[in-house]
Amino acid sequence: MSEATSVPAAGPFEPRIVAFLCNWCSYTASDLAGTARMKYAPNVRIIRVMCSGRVDPTFVLKAFALGADGVLIAGCHPGDCHYQIQNFKTMRRQAMMKYFLETMGLEDARLRLVWASAAEGQYLAESIDQLVADVRKLGPLSWPRNWEENGDRLAALEAIVHEHAEAMEVPV
């Protein structure tokens, strides 16, 4: 891990959420939430990508590895993707990510995919609040420590990749 790995702050647990928002719908929705002065939990950190399809599964892994307690991916509604059909690929990828994160001992609620149109600032704000509340219940992820304590997890991950190489379109 890089030196960027954070040390959990003292005091009550505050979930750290990374949100990948697509430029056209969800990022616009988050701007709209701002313009309309809707309030939501400050625990979320937003990263703009052009399309939810740009969210490489390694970004999600990296977010968790660097200390995120939850990850939100938001895109345009199915059928409304600015790039026609790329959010369907996100949807497929989400199922894959859920599967291997679960196998690695990560609770389902920590990774969430939502569709928020450019007009749905309120919905996006509510989704963020919901994720923060759900992750707060789960408590800290502490993956960086897990990795250090239990090297088997890396092996487990590799085994999964090999087992599902075809489905994941990965040459082995």
């Binding site: 890089s2 030196e3 960027a4 790995t5 954070s6 750290r16 990374v18 056209w24 719908c25 990022y27 616009t28 988050s30 701007d31 939430a33 701002g34 313009t35 002065r37 809707m38 309030k39 939501y40 939990a41 400050p42 979320v44 950190r45 937003i46 990263i47 703009r48 990508v49 052009m50 399309c51 399809g53 740009r54 969210v55 490489d56 599964p57 390694t58 970004f59 990296k62 977010a63 660097l66 200390g67 995120a68 345009c76 059928g79 409304d80 600015h82 790039y83 026609q84 059909i85 790329q86 690929k89 990828r93 149109s117 450019a118 007009a119 749905e120 704000a125 379109e169 990965v170 040459p171």
Partner: protein
């Protein structure tokens, strides 16, 4: 750690945005924080970074302090990223070495807790600083714009936009689904508040469309597909067979007279079914083009294959009638698109207690527009279904609007068109007219004056929502209808006996608005109207560059607003076409051929066919002109060979590290 540029000289600028940011985020602490970040040589704060002095500050520092990266912590990049990029470029720095941290829309405006806001702002600034360190200088990209526009929908919005574009010398392809242009406005009798005759002001424009050398009018046609991108859209237009050749027909209408059906027999859609037409017909007398259309469902020749074809005989040497005509596709390349597909009137039958469809003398406003119209089914007479003249007429406002069960929004035009109808019905029949309204909304130019005028004419106004409409009984009427309304000014329930009810129905998004907006890459608001790029600053632009919207497809509005918006959309399209080129964000994908394994995963993921396989060298190649920069292939490349400019793996990784280092 990845090697970093040893000569990083980053400048960070924290904007107060008046009190918009500074009122919530401790800008002093944020600036101090930024100062300590790796690579930052100076961090400053200023009241309004986007102002001229703010930009000058950045320019001066770039020169004096030799800055090679800029981070601005301010509003959303969708607002001022271009501003700060330009400032950097003016000072000799590549414009893509700038990164925005959005601490207004995504921090100060959405966070109540000041401490939490500061932490979040710090994380975003840290992320931007880390990210910009890995930015590289890029070249600006431009595409040329084909000087031809497509206008979709030829109601008043489309007509206005097409004429403005064509008068400015641009070629226009105007597509209309119906057999004639004119849209809803052509159905109206008079227009509020001036009471100009709708036909008198609309038909000259319709004729101008037909005669304009720069306009190609395609009626009875629909856009089937749109491919390409801003500047170079390729559209396929489905042209439906009307069985009368437009170029051969002279509009004499003799075929209609000659049709074997001696009398009109089938409901005319344009007249809301109140009048009948023959299988060969024009929807209304001033139709443009003045070419009949043959309905294949009711024409004997087309539906049963046998008819004596008296229409063909009547057409004679002109041989315009062609029963063998088939639908066909025409293709056009256009630089800009104006979508003006209009609205649909709310279906009043959805509200059972108003009895539309149940009681014959309950009408929708659109039906009454046709009754009022001199070219309509009754020649302009307002009569009941039995032909008698109504003596007491009730007008129900807000049918389907401002109603929790249907549309919660206000349709904006109904109060005014209800007043217009009250005036016209009273003028034509002398009937007592009762307008039942929730609130009277008359905010336009001359609207309040018109309201006063109609009040003085003796129309009765009852403030209250109509509870229901029921048949009159012996006790409360004379065989007509009764409106039950809670009069909120008198504070009691009233029963108003009437013999005619007009339902002022809402304007709503068209049934196929979803298909239309998806085809053109437009978003919609929560009630289905097309979404503009910015409600105040980009009211006719959309999320899709080169596609503009105008008229009631974007939201309920009246004719003056529609015409103004149509001209605005035409002007934006002209700006694009006259500039001749548009700058694109250089965020396309590219493939590192040395790393590419030739697995072709990327190819199957690209909806634009922008990636091709070089079979000989076993590598994939991205064709930049076709790539729209979604980055999906980059995320999926198993070899890490695909990259996206402005969104490289490294830049996003850096952003992640930055964000998670300082929370």
């Amino acid at each position: 750690m990845k090697p970093r540029d040893q000569n990083l000289r980053i400048g960070v600028y924290v904007c107060h945005c008046g009190t918009n940011i500074a009122g919530v985020v401790d800008v002093e602490a944020l600036t101090e924080f930024a100062q300590k970040l790796e690579g930052v040589v100076l961090a400053r704060q200023y009241k309004y970074m986007c102002s001229d002095p703010g930009q000058e500050l950045i320019k001066r520092d770039i020169v004096q302090h030799n800055l090679n990266r800029i981070v601005v912590a301010a509003c959303s990049p969708s607002l001022h990223e271009p501003t700060f990029r330009r400032a950097a470029e003016d000072a000799g720095l590549n414009r893509f070495l700038v990164q925005i941290a959005n601490i207004r829309e995504q921090v100060s405006w959405v966070t109540e807790d000041h401490a939490g806001a500061l932490t979040k702002a710090q994380a975003h600034v840290a992320a931007a600083v880390r990210r910009v360190a890995g930015h590289e200088a890029l070249e600006r990209q431009f595409v040329s714009i084909a000087p031809r526009a497509l206008v979709v929908g030829a109601g008043i919005a489309g007509i206005q936009a097409a004429l403005t574009l064509a008068d400015a010398g641009k070629e226009v392809i105007l597509v209309e689904r119906e057999p004639s242009i004119g849209g809803h406005m052509a159905m109206f009798d008079k227009t509020f508040p001036t009471l100009d005759c709708a036909a008198c002001i609309l038909t000259p424009k319709m004729t101008a469309i037909k005669n304009h050398p720069k306009i190609t009018l395609l009626t009875y046609s629909e856009v089937e597909s749109v491919k390409g991108a801003v500047g170079n859209y390729h559209v396929k237009i489905h042209r439906r067979a009307r069985y009368v050749q437009e170029d051969a027909c002279v509009g004499c209408m003799q075929c209609i007279d000659a049709c074997v059906f001696p009398k009109p027999k089938f409901p005319n859609e344009f007249d809301q079914g109140l009048a009948l037409r023959k299988p060969v017909y024009v929807p209304f007398p001033q139709a443009v083009p003045p070419v009949p259309v043959i309905d294949p469902k009711t024409c004997l020749q087309l539906s049963q294959g046998k008819c004596k074809r008296s229409c063909v005989e009547a057409c004679g040497e002109r041989t315009a009638i062609d029963f063998h005509q088939k639908d066909w596709i025409e293709e056009y390349d256009v630089g800009a698109i104006v979508v003006t597909t209009g609205f649909r009137a709310f279906d009043a039958a959805k509200i059972p207690y108003y009895g539309y469809g149940q009681y014959p003398n309950v009408y929708t406003a659109l039906e009454v527009e046709r009754l009022l119209n001199a070219a309509g089914p009754t020649g302009g007479k307002v009569v009941l279904r039995d032909g008698s003249t109504p003596k007491r007429v009730g007008i129900v406002h807000c049918v389907g609007s401002r109603d929790q069960k249907y549309h919660t929004y206000c349709s904006r035009v109904c109060c005014m068109y209800s007043l217009k109808m009250a005036h016209l019905v009273r003028e034509k029949t002398g009937a007592e007219v009762y307008n039942c309204y929730i609130d009277m909304r008359a905010p336009g130019k001359g609207f309040e004056e018109f309201y006063n005028r109609v009040q003085n004419e003796g129309v009765h106004f009852i403030r209250g929502k109509v509870a229901d409409i029921a048949p009159a009984t012996a006790g409360n009427g004379n065989g007509g209808l009764v409106m039950h309304v809670d009069d909120t000014l008198l504070g009691r329930l009233r029963e108003i006996p009437v013999d005619m009810v007009i339902l002022s129905v809402a304007l709503e998004a068209r049934a196929d608005a979803v298909d239309v907006r998806r085809m053109f890459g437009i978003s919609c608001c929560s009630v289905g109207f097309f979404l503009e790029k910015h409600p105040k600053l980009a009211p006719v632009s959309t999320a899709n560059d080169g596609v503009f919207v105008a008229g009631a497809c974007q939201g309920a509005k009246d004719i003056p607003d529609t015409v103004a918006q149509a001209d605005a959309a035409a002007a934006r399209a002209l700006v694009l076409m006259d500039a001749g080129q548009i700058e694109l964000e250089p965020n396309t994908a590219w493939i590192d051929e040395d790393a590419c394994s030739g697995c072709k995963t990327c190819i199957s993921l690209c909806p634009y066919e922008a990636i091709t396989a070089d079979e000989e060298r076993k590598v994939s190649t991205v064709f930049p002109a076709l790539c729209k920069g979604c980055g999906t292939c980059v995320a999926a490349c198993p070899s890490g060979a695909a990259h996206q400019y402005l969104f490289t793996d490294r830049q996003i990784d850096d952003e992640l590290e930055g964000i998670l280092s300082y929370v």
